[in-house]
Each structure stands twice: as structure tokens, then as C-alpha cells.
């Protein structure tokens, strides 16, 4: 019985790009990127445990422009993955499958996660570190 050479269903190559598939792929990408970002979180915790000198070194790395850009890509990834994750939880509960709702929730995720990232940047530069 030959089972290895059956025709496969059409793969992503033949589809027109649309927001739903971009958002689904981006959910995975931000998830992988956030997993890598946890390395920085662990480094930060170790630096605090190790003492003032190590912490000062970590602050230097985070304060540099490469560090800042990386941190803000992780911030956007976090807010995106959070908002889209909540969208996924609604689908798991059987809600929001109408095409219109699908698009509305999709665009809302973009708007809310971008807005939260901008607000977070503003907050840190205006109030961060001066509690």
C-alpha cells in the first residue's frame, strides 16, 4: 500500500498574502524572538544578584543604542504576542470567527500593540528610573 506520494494540499506559495496569515506567522516569530529575549531577562537577574559592578555593566549594555533598539523590538513583540494571544484565547472559546470580526480583531491587535509600545517608550524616557 503506497501512502508516501499522495498529493499534498496547496502550500502557502500559491496564496495571495493577506493580513490573517501575516498575523499568524508573526505570532510565531514574536514567540521565538521573545524566547530569545528571556536570555536578556536572565542576564539582568544574574547581574542584580552578582552585585553593583556587574549591574553597572548590564546597564551600560542596555543603555547603548543597540541595547535600546533590541529592548524595544522585544517590547513590541511582547505586546503583539499578548494581544494576539488573547485573540487566540477568544477563538479557543469559540468566539470571533465571523470574517468581519476576524478582521476587526486583527487590526485592533496591530493598533493596540503599536500604541502600547509607543506609550511604554514614552513612559520609560519620561518617568523610568525615577520612582
Amino acid at each position: 500500500m503506497e501512502t508516501d506520494y499522495r498529493p499534498l494540499s496547496p502550500h502557502i506559495g500559491i496564496y495571495r498574502w493577506q493580513i490573517t496569515m501575516i498575523m499568524s506567522i508573526l505570532h510565531r516569530l514574536t514567540g521565538v524572538w521573545l524566547s530569545l529575549g528571556t536570555l536578556v531577562l536572565i542576564y539582568w537577574l544574574i547581574a542584580i544578584a552578582a552585585g553593583p559592578d556587574t549591574y553597572a555593566g548590564a546597564q551600560m549594555l542596555f543603555g547603548g543604542w543597540i541595547g535600546q533598539i533590541l529592548i524595544w523590538t522585544w517590547a513590541f513583540s511582547f505586546f503583539y504576542h499578548l494581544c494576539n494571544g488573547i485573540r487566540h484565547l477568544f477563538w479557543d472559546a469559540g468566539q470571533g470567527f465571523e470574517i468581519r470580526t476576524f478582521y476587526i480583531s486583527g487590526y485592533s491587535v496591530w493598533i493596540i500593540s503599536t500604541a502600547l509600545t509607543v506609550l511604554a517608550i514614552l513612559f520609560v524616557y519620561l518617568f523610568g528610573g525615577h520612582p
Binding site: 514567540g31 542584580i48 499578548l82 520609560v124 523610568g128 528610573g129
Partner: protein, 126 residues
Amino acid sequence: MSFRTPLGRARGLGTARLGTGHWLAQRITAVALVPLSLWFVMSVMIYMRADYVTVSIWLHSSVVSVLLVLLLGTLYYHAYLGLQMVIEDYVHDEWLKVSSLMLTKFICVLLAATGIFAILRVAFGG
């Protein structure tokens, strides 16, 4: 009643019947991470540019230590479940798949243990 073909059963290559557990664990950790990660990100925003004394006093508090330990445990569990899905979907070579899954699991446990150790060291006055 089983819908598996006799050949499928003989080969033993069906589902491992572990899919529901994986799916549920991913959702439960996701729900737990909503408040935990939001609390953590807001704390980081406040303490990101703070000096050493301020940050270590923050980390010294019992509530913060417990929440951080919970965060790391849930976070790495959730991260492993997600990375496992990505690896299983895109890595088709059996040897490479099994070894990258194992390596990912080891790294997740190692990082969680390291982070929790650092938190406890500060909490217990290291």
C-alpha cells in the same frame, strides 16, 4: 471503537494521544502569563533605568520574589511548548528534530533554574 487501519495499528505510528494535554497546558500557561507578564513588564519599565540599590530593594521583597519565580516557571514552560510546536512543524529530519527538541528542553530548564537561583540569592540576602 477505533478508526485506525490495521496497518496503522501494526506499525504503531499513530497519534501518541498527548495532543490534548499539550494544547491545554499551552492555554493554561497563556492565561497565567497575562497578569504575570504584564506585572513584570510594568515593573521593568519602572526599574529599567534605576540604580543598583533601588533595583535590589525591589527584588528583595517577598511578593516580588514569589511572583518572579512563578513568572519564570510559567514563562519557560510556555516557551518550550511553543518552540516545540515550531520545531515539530518545520524540522522534518527525525534525528535533527528529536535532538533539537531535547536541546531546547535542556536550555529552557537550565535558564529557568539559573533565573530562579538568582532571584532566591537576592531574596535570601546574597
